[in-house]
């Protein structure tokens, strides 16, 4: 029971944060609401027994990436958004398409939830770091190496782009 209450609370926080991200005019506010979303997601991960991932989520996402965003927003200090009539197609075709789709997926999930069965905290050592580490460095070693190369390239790209000309 406690889990369900916790899940609903954090879920609502998450959704509220996401909506706030859309509603806010100034990017800094939406950035912070995104941090809230990420933190609440981390807690939901804990609910799902994924301790290591929750910690990583906090450290990497909330702690590093969002800081980067806040950093850039502060650096550029571009101010609030202005309402410009950009592309009509985005509004009149994109949005309805997504709504319809989300609706169908949602309906399907609700409809099929009985078949799917439940989720619980699970055994204590499920989300254990050493279990993930064993998997990561043994079965998924190649992707791990590839992503490390990816990160290297990203860093170099960012540095080159970020450098002031001359």
């Amino acid at each position: 029971m406690v889990h369900q209450v916790l899940f609903i609370v954090f879920g609502l926080i998450c959704v509220a944060g996401a909506i706030n991200l859309l509603v806010q005019r100034h990017p800094i506010n939406s950035a912070l609401s995104l941090v809230v979303v990420m933190a609440s997601l981390a807690l939901i991960y804990l609910l799902l027994g994924a301790e290591f991932v929750a910690a990583i989520q906090v450290i990497v996402y909330a702690g590093a990436i969002m800081v980067l965003f806040v950093f850039v927003i502060m650096l550029l200090n571009a101010g609030a958004e202005e309402r410009t009539r950009g592309s009509r197609i985005a509004l009149f075709v994109g949005v309805p398409a997504t709504v319809v789709l989300a609706g169908t997926v949602g309906w399907l999930l609700v409809h099929g939830s009985a078949r799917l069965g439940g989720v619980s905290i699970g055994s204590s050592d499920f989300g254990e770091t050493h279990a993930i580490a064993r998997l990561l460095f043994r079965d998924f070693l190649l992707p791990f190496e590839i992503t490390s190369v990816l990160i290297l390239i990203a860093i170099m790209g960012a540095v080159v782009l970020g450098k002031r000309e001359g």
Binding site: I19, F69, A78, V110
Partner: protein, 113 residues
């Protein structure tokens, strides 16, 4: 005992909110953030399924059983990629700002026909 579909629904909602942000917002950084939101939504469903596979072991169509923790590893990789993307993306945004003096997406339309 929370039904898996709740998590998936939450993930779907977050994802579609991300898509709305991606479509409706004017500021490039905000668009970028909504992409991050979408990625997070996906991570959520990954983790949810990881737990689900742990309790309801399933097999891949190719026959060998699904490793429950692979969900977490995938989340890990998604984060890594998201980090890389954020780095490069923000660098680009800075250079765009430096040349175009604006972050408004509709103003950045030099490719217009």
């Amino acid at each position: 005992m929370i039904p898996l579909s709740w998590y998936l629904i939450l993930s779907a909602i977050l994802f579609s909110l991300g898509v709305f942000g991606f479509l409706l917002k004017r500021n490039i950084i905000t668009i970028f953030m909504s992409i991050e939101l979408m990625l997070n939504a996906v991570n959520l469903s990954f983790v949810a399924f990881a737990n689900y596979w742990n309790t309801h072991p399933r097999a891949l169509p190719s026959g060998d059983p699904i490793v429950p923790l692979s969900g977490h590893v995938f989340v890990f990789f998604v984060m890594v990629v998201a980090a890389a993307e954020a780095a490069v993306g923000l660098a680009i945004i800075i250079s765009v700002f430096r040349t175009r003096e604006t972050l408004n997406v509709d103003r950045v339309n030099l490719l217009k026909l």
